[in-house]
Amino acid sequence: MVARAAIILLIFFALLSNLRLFRQTLNFAPKPLGTDEITLYEKRFAELKKILPYHGVVGYISNKQAEDIRFDAGAAEYYLTQYALTPLVVAYSPNYPLVVGNFLQSVIDPEIYTSKDLVPLKDFGNGVLLFRRAGR
């Protein structure tokens, strides 16, 4: 009797857990392909990619600077920028000849880049800018 109950309980709870996940996923709002968050985020960099070199290293600045990019959730935008611009290496630093700016707002306080000796080269909209280091 106990063995039978154990078998039934195991089947029941395994199936229940499985079907709960199934039901949860059915609740997802169907999205057309290419409209997920990451794909949309990547599209912000489409024009920038056209004028950046294919290889090499570029710098990165944002108005959302993280203390430690490994553990700070604020670094997610930086990770996504690297993911979008691969195979270009995006260094988390403004000390490079070319620097990618990734800002949340479209109007940016110039203090953010002038304090780092950066000169805007082009504004691609949606908070994406390209800078060069002043004096080069």
Binding site: A3, R4, A6, F13, L15, S17, D36, H55, Y83
Partner: protein, 484 residues
Amino acid sequence: MLWLSLFSPLFIGFFLISIIWPRHKAVSPYLLIQSCLAVGVGLGISSYSFFLGLAAFPRSSDGFVNAETTSLLVFTVVLLCLYALRRRKDPAPRSAPKPASKEGPVWILCAPFYIALIAAMIAFMFLSLDSPHGGWDGWAIWNMRARFLFRSGVQWTQTFSDLVAWSHPDYPLLIPAAIARCWAHIGHETLVVPAVVSMLFAFATVGLIFSSLSILRSRSQGFLAGLVLLGTPFFIQQGASQQADVPLGFFFLATIVLFFLQDRLPKNNHGLLSLAGMTAGFSAWTKHEGLLFLACVIISRLSVMVRVQDRKVFLRQAFSFAAGLAPVLATVVYFKTQIATPNEFISFPGLQVAVDRLTDGSRYLQVGKAWAEEMVHSGNWIFSLLLLLVFYLLAVGINPDKAIKPALASSLVLLCLLLAGYFLVYVTSPYDLHWTVATSLNRLLLQLWPSLLLVFFLVVNTPEQAMNLLSSSGKHSQARADGT
């Protein structure tokens, strides 16, 4: 072209396994095991051949694709010829493990298993459609590395730059290289590839645990173990998030299954050990934990099999294992010594720091407490199946097959060593313990989950045995008297 690039490695893997596999009277029970193993072996071979091609001919990705396609075709033809030749030469089957014949109320388990399988497949597809780039580690580590390998061409080593240390450029490349290889074959990137690779690994794990237990114990036991795995939502979610933990768990399981099947073969037949060496090597080519697994496999087999086997037989078996392992391990060693950056977790922190951490009792307590909590809830179950399995064990009792006892002992030693190894990595971790445990422990436990389920269901009575024992008190008493 997309499906050809995805499935051609699987055919190669299948034929290779078919050549090595011992001949059986009944082939069909083993077809599912071979097909599931072919997923890992095929994708593993394609991955490291792509990596070696990149290392040897970085300037010619088109040339590599053509060379690889040609060599894969030649390889397939050679394997087919060898296979046909072997069938002609040796029509009589050799002695082989007999599939378990005890069949009980299979239909009771069959229906829930297939319902769970279909539900899991649909859930997997919905999860993949919702996050086609994968979960956080899926895109930030594995798929980004695949992009680097595919897009970089001559400059592919840039992906291992210290400037992107946060993306763990020291991680092995089985998954990224398998994905990049498919993209290279079709000439462009598509999100279908990483999703299908992840799906193949997840459902091959389910197929492998079902088919191996069907052979080693009974179909009902296979259905039950498969159902418990499919009833672990975290397994499906992690699979769909395109991380490497489910593929790693597949290689752990495959290696252990092959040891069990090997130990039921005559002592002069060591073919499956070459495959076990290969799958153990692929685990090290998937994630760092695979290196620990490999060390634990060697220690556990050495400590158990040397006692129960003739030394000559053991040495021959060890040679077969090493023959399968060597090419993959050589690639891993080349990657780790020549290309990758040092691993942050196992980088030597200094003797005094390590001793301080190892002798700090509070770290053991903290890790132990987190483990206890995580083990109970890690599967995202409605009710902890781990606790239910403990109850199940007590209710149905244990009755391991005598023929597999040595393999069972070595598997238990292996899993205990792995758990102890994982525990000590946490104790000596250079990072904040709370953060490290919170972000990784459930995934580490998931890697071991399929193997733990295999061993568990090899040990416990099958449902039909448990019910027969109940219906026949005489048999029950006899079983107890036998100590089973």
